[in-house]
């Protein structure tokens, strides 16, 4: 009987934990990706949720909490499921310059110029990460315009932009997002790069 009670209490505790986690995740509005701490933060209306990749746990986080040592620079604040998924990915492997650009893009709105400058290698790697597997080149062969398989993300390194032939008048590449079926991007991040 005692063993049965323990089992019931254990199951109830598990269910309660799941319910708490679910309730916390509903209504998630913002994510913060920070450079030094491998963690992502989702801000709800009242509290934040911190994923600690070292502890492999999700913790609630409020305004009185302090971030871990080294967590000084917030590189991006974003909203929505896609950003949360990205942030989890960053939490798992650490953040690179390319990740920062992707975070900045997913957190952005409209036409923006990145605060980061990538090397050519970093740009290509980040571009591939951005559009993911199954991407395809659109336009004419060799266009340098690549779309994700779902059509919602575009990595563009067209010759005109690579040459810096137009504003912002420096060699740049593009990380862009689109709403389904849209032609005007939701975000168009102009990212300077160097050879």
């Amino acid at each position: 009987m005692t063993a049965n009670r323990r089992l019931i209490f254990f199951l109830l505790a598990v269910l309660f934990s799941i319910a708490q986690a679910t309730a916390s995740l509903v209504g998630v509005q913002e994510c913060h990706v920070s450079t030094n701490v491998r963690a992502w933060h989702e801000t709800t209306s009242q509290t934040s949720i911190v994923y600690d990749s070292t502890q492999k746990s999700i913790e609630t986080y409020d305004e009185s909490s302090t971030l871990d040592a080294g967590d000084k620079e917030i590189t991006a604040v974003g909203k929505g499921t896609h950003f949360a998924d990205f942030a989890k990915s960053v939490a798992a492997k650490g953040i690179s310059a390319g990740d920062s650009v992707i975070a900045e893009t997913l957190a952005g709105k409209g036409n923006i110029t990145s605060k980061f400058t990538l090397s050519a290698d970093e740009a290509l790697s980040a571009g591939e990460d951005f559009v993911g597997s199954g991407y395809s080149e659109i336009g004419k062969p060799g266009s340098g315009v690549f779309r994700s398989s779902d059509g919602l993300r575009q990595f563009r390194m067209d010759a005109n932009s690579l040459n810096g032939a137009h504003a912002p008048n420096v060699p740049h590449i593009h990380f862009e997002t689109y709403a389904p079926g849209a032609k005007f991007p939701t975000v168009n991040n102009h990212v300077p790069f160097f050879e």
Binding site: N111, G139, K140, A159, H166, A167, N169
Partner: protein, 77 residues
């Protein structure tokens, strides 16, 4: 078809965005068929490096692009 023709006539022309998020910027559509096979929409603020570019794959995409932009463009040329 008439709309496609109207956008086609604007390629290479300069316009000014008079309303919308980027009001005050100039805009020009460039035929980039030699490079990408698509069209570049270049926007800039005169006398500065402040600007950006967008891209569409097809001529028929231009109408939708400008409609979604929320811009009101006064074509100057």
């Amino acid at each position: 078809m008439r709309k496609d023709m109207s956008m086609q006539s604007k390629i290479g022309s300069r316009g000014r965005i008079t309303a919308g998020e980027n009001a005050g910027f100039f805009v020009r559509v460039e035929d980039d068929s030699a490079n990408t096979g698509g069209y570049l929409i270049l926007c800039w603020r005169d006398g500065t490096d402040d600007g950006f570019d967008n891209w569409v794959e097809k001529l028929t995409d231009l109408d939708q692009f400008f409609m979604e932009s929320g811009w009101n463009v006064e074509w100057l040329e």
